[in-house]
Symmetry: C2
Subunit: 213 residues, 2 copies
Amino acid sequence: MSTPLAHIVDDDEAIRDALTWLFRTREVASAEWSSAEEFLAAWQPDWHGCIVLDIRMREMSGLECFDVLQERGNTLPVIFLTGHGDVPMAVGALKKGAFDFLEKPFDDNALVDVVIRALASDAKRQASQATQASVTHHLALLTPREQEVMNLVLAGKFNKVIADELNISMRTVEVHRARVFEKMGVRSAVELAQLLAPGRDKGAGGTGNSGEH
Amino acid sequence: MSTPLAHIVDDDEAIRDALTWLFRTREVASAEWSSAEEFLAAWQPDWHGCIVLDIRMREMSGLECFDVLQERGNTLPVIFLTGHGDVPMAVGALKKGAFDFLEKPFDDNALVDVVIRALASDAKRQASQATQASVTHHLALLTPREQEVMNLVLAGKFNKVIADELNISMRTVEVHRARVFEKMGVRSAVELAQLLAPGRDKGAGGTGNSGEH
DNA sequence: TTCCACACTGCGGATGACCACAATTGAGAC
DNA sequence: GTCTCAATTGTGGTCATCCGCAGTGTGGAA
């Protein structure tokens, strides 16, 4: 775990200093890395924030660094900076999942705005991924048999039918079913279904009652 | 309804002819439009396929055309072609949802590959949207009261509680509940929850039974 | 005015879900 | 060898769901 940082990866110290100062004026916490290698060596999958990545660097390029990060399962938004980018490069980067691609010279405010959006995007992703991870974790607590029963419950089948299909007694199904609910922290099959398939709004209001009898 | 077409929008007849021929050799059905205006006048929201859009045209530009399409709720993938694009233009187009952005001269095969991917992407989107629309349609068949009851059912509440909250009798809740199931084409609250929140895989196999009693 | 959709209600029964109490068996851990 | 855990089963009972049958009242459309 860490606080959200805008990671500046650039081998030009003057630019790093300028960006660090720029971010500080807009109250964006940042960190500096003087090469892609240095950054990759430190990178941890649980970091929060975003990455501001220069494309042209002496050793490993920003694009190569990006590829390595993708392979490692990076989820941080990556904002590319380049002084001499071309269209195919920009298109390729964006289609591979880059957050943005800015050409130098860029407007300072525009960059910070992008970084702030990237930080917000990452925060949102982290949040949704956290609940997702929690569900997956709870799911892992289920024994194989319990998962089997759970799937059949989610298929809308009666305990009797489940018992038949698994060649066990109804009573056993009930026990498994109860344990699934307990371990997953829900109290009904409906809650379970929603937990495992979050989605959609509800059309009309819920508790609002209009007329009475 | 219509068959999937690659819509070529370009005011240069030579290019249109070349693309049409190119697509035909790869068995991609296409249509030609000699201007953005002409295309926009014909465009229908239920079209399938994709759009190959030249940026530089005499009257309305491809980018403007794209903006209009977005406003109208277009969902077809848009592939931009340009002879003199710059990075900000490409980045802007992709971030607004363009499918791809190719610079002339481009590799013919590369373009067709992109078009084929775009067609596949659209087909997939159409399919998922169709089931989505079906659900919405069924939802619209519910009376207000039925929707109210449905939401409370999806909240995992007992009929008794629902009856309390709506100040009606349990029997009435049961009737509404049954009608909701009937109209939505499901036979249990679990199925309903999954219909309204499609999602996730199921971990282990379902019906496979290993040991017996 | 008549017809119809919608909302509402009661009764009673069949079926399913859930639970406490009580136990057995087999596999791997200590 | 004992312990723990997963998986299994039965009994008996409570609560919830689902359903058919039968009926009331209201507001809008024909």
